[in-house]
């Protein structure tokens, strides 16, 4: 059974770093499909993987070719998209990465998205884990996949804005067709314990706090050098916490 984990949160909370660490950790247990659904597309850097085409670009190109009537009538468009999506997959030893790219422009995407969902679902079932680094609107989850999400990890920093954004994303995913198993909150970049106001906000929003993580001294250094974040030393507090979270969620 494939386990699907979605990671969401306000920008600047360390969402992609946590996603990359979790992906790396899970790849020791099984084969992972990493879906970068954030249009700024930098999960590949964090994982130290190259970038090929994005699903967004493939979709735009496809819509354009359809518009121009350039596709042969008997070449089944679904199969063509299956091929292109498969081709855009960045394959490494235990982790494959699929960048989803920008959301769609104007025009009709009903058919394109329908076909993309099919392509992606076909690919996804071959993995032990799927980790989705979500964009704020979480539209990719509803439009490009029919998968249910087993765990939604909301990442926030210790700010009211971060917590509010996390709560909003929880509500948003509730409005989508996607079924979600557990929903948990991680507060990252905490200095000297969680402020009382933040703890209260978490309670008020009814969020389930699973971990607080303090600022990781190694991260800033890696970020400056642009080194893949998965090269964090084993004694990194962030690394240890992610392991702890994965264990407690039974992943």
């Amino acid at each position: 059974m494939t386990k699907t984990i979605a990671i969401a949160g306000k920008g600047g909370t360390g969402k992609t770093v946590i996603a990359a660490l979790l992906i790396n950790l899970l790849s020791q247990e099984g084969v992972v499909l990493a879906l970068d659904a954030d249009p700024s597309t930098n999960l590949n850097q964090a994982l130290g993987l190259p970038l090929r085409d994005t699903m967004g670009r493939i979709r735009e190109e496809f819509v354009e070719e359809v518009e121009r009537g350039r596709l042969p009538p008997t070449v089944i468009k679904q199969e063509l998209l299956d091929y292109k999506i498969r081709d855009s997959l960045v394959e490494s030893k235990r982790i494959d990465l699929l960048p989803m790219g920008r959301p769609e422009g104007p025009g009709c995407y009903c058919a394109a998205n329908y076909m993309l969902r099919h392509s992606l679902d076909q690919i996804a079932k071959n993995y032990d884990y799927i980790v989705i680094d979500c964009e704020a609107g979480m539209e990719h989850i509803s439009r490009q996949t029919t998968r249910d999400v087993d765990v939604l990890l909301l990442i926030s920093d210790p700010t009211i804005r971060g917590i509010t954004a996390a709560a909003r994303m929880r509500d948003l995913i509730g409005e989508l067709r996607t079924k979600v198993g557990k929903i948990c909150l991680i507060v990252n970049r905490v200095k000297n314990g969680l402020p009382l106001e933040i703890g209260k906000a978490i309670d008020d929003f009814g969020l389930q706090l699973i971990a607080t993580i303090s600022e990781d001294p190694y991260i800033a250094d890696l970020e400056i050098k642009g080194t893949p974040l998965i090269e964090l030393p084993q004694d990194s507090p962030l690394q240890a916490k992610v392991k702890q979270v994965a264990n407690s969620l039974g992943l």
Binding site: I76, E79, H118, N126
Partner: protein
């Protein structure tokens, strides 16, 4: 027959990752690749022969990507040339029946991977793959009396043969474009857009593709097969009630059901009385111009206005929403190629205004109907008065009364 690996449809969903393949053929990393099935006379086919031109799997370096052509030659009294593409598509299906063999796409886009596991089990030669093809093809398609399979891995040889394969594909596409409503018994409907337009139901026939342009009859056929419970499904076209307007009892029945009873008749090839509904997804709008009693087309990417001064977005608002709007029909641009393009109303010969880009794109078809140089664009006219003047000046056949409505 005995093979080193297992065979069966249970392997169809199997995917082979980079880490797990022994070799791959084709794909985007390889320039020359194709597959082709050819109907031949019995004396041209040596039954059950497998030939390999170039290196075999066991001679190739592990982990590499290589060129490949797969040629399936068949003979049989009951086989017809129309079956070539059907047989060719089976290469995909039968390859995926093979444990540890993965096949994607078709024609000159093929991509195959052989797993390390199956290689270890002994599937180390294309000869065995060929024997599997010969076995599966003859046991599943009884009309095939003789079959021979050729694999070419020699890049130069594939490069030489590719152009003739491309010609065959193109000829097939040309034939497919000629397929008409009367040639088939099954039509398809698509309700993908019902989240936007709950009463809209696209009827897709060989002569009419979906309004969005993304789904033609062949795509729908494939989609229905992939997901029989999905938003795209087939139905018997039923009785043809009006061949010119394109009214079919089967389509009427489906529209009544899927439009929640809002409509019970649909004309597939007319913009009047019971025109097809429009979702919000159409690529273009075919609109009636009362001043000249003729039609214009405006498409989504055109930023300007019609001679009446309307933008696409304004007109789309009045056309969309799953309504039947007489004289304002959402459509796919490729419908302009169809021989039945609003045929009951006069077809392409009744077009008087098009954005320049569209006029140029469909030049061939407009020329064939003798109207290419009679149609005004945004460069010729900027209002309806100028349009009337232009059409009189160039002598548009519709305006001159030279176009007879069929029927």
């Amino acid at each position: 027959m005995e093979f080193h690996i297992d065979l069966g449809p249970q392997y169809e969903g199997e995917s082979i990752r980079k880490e797990d393949f022994y070799v791959e053929f084709g794909g985007s990393a390889v320039k020359y690749k194709f597959e082709r099935a050819t109907l031949k006379s019995p004396e041209e086919v040596e039954h059950e022969k497998v030939e390999i031109i170039g290196s075999d799997i066991k001679d190739l370096e592990e982990g590499g990507s290589y060129p490949l052509a797969i040629l399936i030659d068949v003979a049989g009294e009951e086989l017809e040339p129309d079956m070539e593409p059907v047989i060719e598509r089976r290469i995909h299906m039968y390859s995926n029946y093979v444990e540890g063999l993965w096949h994607m796409a078709q024609r000159n886009d093929i991509w195959l991977r052989l797993s390390k596991n199956s290689f270890k089990k002994g599937l180390n030669s294309l000869r065995e793959v060929g024997e599997i093809y010969n076995f599966l093809f003859t046991s599943e398609i009884p009309q095939i009396e003789k079959i021979q399979t050729t694999f070419i891995t020699d890049e130069k040889r594939i490069e030489e043969l590719l152009p003739s394969a491309l010609e065959v594909y193109e000829a097939r596409d040309a034939r497919a474009r000629e397929l008409k409503d009367e040639d088939v018994d099954e039509f398809y409907y698509c309700v993908l857009c019902q989240s936007f337009a709950p009463t809209h139901c696209c009827i897709v026939t060989p002569s009419r593709l979906a309004n969005c342009g993304a789904m033609n009859w062949f795509d729908c056929k494939a989609a229905y097969k992939l997901d029989p419970e999905g938003p795209i499904a087939g139905f018997p076209k039923g009785e043809c009630l009006d061949p010119l307007k394109g009214e079919f009892s089967g389509a009427n029945k489906i529209v009544a059901e899927k439009s929640l009873g809002n409509y019970d008749r649909v004309y597939l090839h007319s913009a009047f009385e019971h025109p097809h509904t429009s979702c919000g997804c159409f690529q273009a709008i075919c609109f009636y111009i009362p001043e000249v009693d003729a039609f214009g087309i405006i498409h989504r990417d055109y930023g300007g206005v019609t001679p009446a001064g309307l933008k696409f977005s304004t007109m789309a608002g009045d056309t969309s929403g799953g309504k039947q709007v007489e004289g304002s029909c959402g459509m796919a641009l490729e419908l302009l190629r169809s021989a039945k393009f609003f045929q009951a109303d006069g077809g392409r010969k009744r077009l008087v205004w098009l954005p320049k880009e569209i006029k140029e794109r469909y030049k061939e078809f407009l020329e064939a109907d003798g109207v290419y140089d009679k149609i005004a664009t945004e460069e010729d006219v900027s209002n309806t008065d100028e349009l009337v003047e232009f059409l009189e000046k160039v002598g548009h056949p519709w305006i001159k009364g030279e176009v007879e409505l069929p029927g």
